[in-house]
């Protein structure tokens, strides 16, 4: 087993590419903060890529650039050869925060993406009902989000993004706020869905074990301004369950290597964030 970089594949099969991309903000008190700096990596269609890095380093910025919510201020980011804001590619984004619309019932939330695509009522209803079953929400289709637990609302958010079959799934610490057991169940569900549909997934997490268990590739980012520190190809056998992956030979080596990459960055980020607080 080798822990080599996975980013030397032939061009053209990449669904998106970051080329020396950077992002700086001007804060309200006039200071310039660089969230992302000189970041270069590319992801192949159908890959499951995890990004780990210290909290507050700029991982979310990476996802926001791809989603077209913000633009890189240096370098370039290409989504199938186009700027993310101009690309017609369907993107699903599971936010770290609660993004389910509280005034729509579960089914109405799940079919939202299809409503926006003018899919006829009976067709989108059928699809939403299938997704509600698939994500284990049966019986709650007509509930309002306020009546659900946090874990169930995360399932709704996942079903919402899957409804319109996006080519890319961006996930920002999607299971971070959940209890350990719920998280495990949802990780398994995500792996099962990905095995069937092979979307390209970019999965941000601060949980090293989660990254190794789920992804084909784990990118380690530095403290702010975030750069890529290392890029691991995870060659644990598939299909695998999220829990079983932890007992595979090789898991501990990945964990140890990534942890050693990450530890100095966590310390560095704590000093930056401490200075801001």
């Amino acid at each position: 087993m080798s822990l080599v970089s996975a980013s030397n594949a032939a061009s053209g099969e990449f669904i998106f590419e970051f080329k020396h991309a950077g992002k700086s903000f001007i804060t309200s008190d006039g200071k310039v903060v660089t969230a992302l700096q000189d970041t270069t990596f590319s992801v192949r269609r159908g890959d499951f890529v995890a990004i780990v890095g210290p909290s507050g380093c700029g991982k979310t910025t990476t996802l926001n650039i791809l989603a077209g919510l913000t633009e890189a201020t240096s370098g370039s980011v290409l989504l199938e050869g186009k700027r993310p804001g101009e690309s017609k590619l369907d993107i699903g984004y599971v936010f770290q925060q609660d993004s389910v619309l509280p005034w729509r019932k579960v089914l109405d939330n799940v079919e939202l993406g299809l409503v926006l695509r003018n899919v006829p009522k009976d067709k989108r209803r059928a699809k939403a009902e299938a997704l509600v079953r698939m994500t284990g929400l049966q019986g709650f289709g007509n509930s309002y989000p306020a009546e659900l637990s946090g874990g169930m609302r995360k399932r709704v958010a996942l079903a919402m993004t899957l409804a319109y079959d996006p080519s890319i799934l961006l996930m920002d610490e999607p299971f971070g706020a959940l209890d350990a057991q719920t998280r495990m169940v949802l990780q398994d569900e995500l792996l099962r869905i990905w095995n069937e549909q092979k979307q390209t997934i970019l999965f941000v997490t601060h949980d090293i074990a989660e990254a190794i268990a789920l992804a084909d590739r784990v990118i380690v980012m530095t403290a702010r301004p975030a750069r890529i520190k290392n890029d691991y190809a995870i060659s644990l056998p598939r299909p695998r369950g999220a829990a079983e992956a932890r007992f595979q030979p090789g898991f501990d080596e990945y964990y140890k290597a990534i942890w050693e990459d990450l530890r100095p960055e966590i310390d560095a980020q704590r000093q930056i964030s401490g200075g801001n607080a």
Binding site: A67, G92, Q97, L101, P102, W103, K105, L112, P145, A146
Partner: protein, 283 residues
């Protein structure tokens, strides 16, 4: 407790749990009944004390009238039909003004929140208007729009407008950006995001303003009638003041209280329906 009730259809609970739930239900019913009794007792005692202190001559009825006299006066006003014309006029002024003010407040609050530039330009003006006691403009409205209902409708609309405008504006500004970002990534355009995210979110703020607006609307209508009118509850009160009829003043106040409560019930019911997605809170 041995079973989870989540997703478990009612009726399949074990007997012990059924029994505990039934006991709980009975306790809650008893509490509700006790609360009703307490309220009746407190209200009746206050009315009783009022009647009593006038009856034994501690206070002269010229100043505070008497519950029994007020009841008779209320009966007289309703049985002769005298009150209906005035009641209809005051309610028309309050409701029409409420709707016009709310509609304008929602529309302009929405637009002002869409554009930072419009908002920045308008805000100082609105703050200045809002810090002015708005009923002070009532005499101007009477000069502009005459002694009929339109001057009162104008005053009510103005008073309500500011409350609704401010809340609509604040509501629009407090939309969770995650929700907007989420729906934009799903493919919604700006108009769709406004319609599906900003508007439903802002409705909660609009209703909060509507609840305070009801009393503002009644104040506007009655004060407008005080200033200059030919009919309405406020007009009756002005007449009663002229002839020093304390009883009539009290009975019209009671009528106004019921009008306010009725309007409040209508708005509250609409709110319950429009905001049915909100988690139920204990009342």
């Amino acid at each position: 407790m041995t079973t989870s009730t989540q997703g478990n259809p009612a009726g399949s609970l074990p007997a012990e749990e059924e029994r505990l739930l039934a006991a709980d239900r009975v306790r809650q019913q008893q509490k509700a009944r006790q609360r009703t009794i307490d309220r009746i007792v407190v209200t009746a005692s206050l009315i009783g004390i009022w009647e009593f202190v006038v009856w034994i001559g501690w206070v002269h009825p010229f100043f505070v009238s008497r519950p029994s006299l007020i009841a008779i006066d209320l009966w007289k006003m309703f049985s002769t039909g005298f009150i209906f014309k005035h009641l209809a006029i005051t309610m028309w002024e309050a409701i029409a003004g409420l709707f016009i003010g709310a509609a304008l407040g929602i529309a302009t609050g929405f637009i002002a929140a869409l554009s930072q530039r419009v908002a920045d330009a308008l805000i100082p003006l609105i703050v200045a208007f809002n810090s002015m006691p708005r009923v002070a403009i009532a005499p101007l409205f009477v000069i502009w729009l005459g002694f009929g209902p339109s001057s009162k409708i104008g005053l009510v609309a103005l008073v309500v407008y500011f409350a609704v405008f401010f809340n609509t504006f604040s509501g629009m500004r407090s939309v969770d950006p995650v929700l907007t970002n989420s729906i934009r990534v799903m493919g919604a355009n700006r108009i769709q995001a406004l319609w599906m995210v900003s508007l439903p979110h802002t409705m909660a703020w609009v209703f909060a303003a509507m609840n305070t607006s009801i009393s503002l609307a009644l104040i506007g209508a009655v004060v407008g009638e005080f200033i200059g009118s030919t009919a309405g509850i406020g007009w009756i009160m002005v007449q009663a003041t002229g002839t020093l009829e304390t009883t009539r003043l009290f009975s019209t106040m009671i009528v106004l209280a019921f009008v306010g409560a009725g309007l409040f019930a209508i708005v509250n019911w609409t709110e319950q329906y429009v905001l049915r997605w909100r988690p139920r809170t204990a009342n």
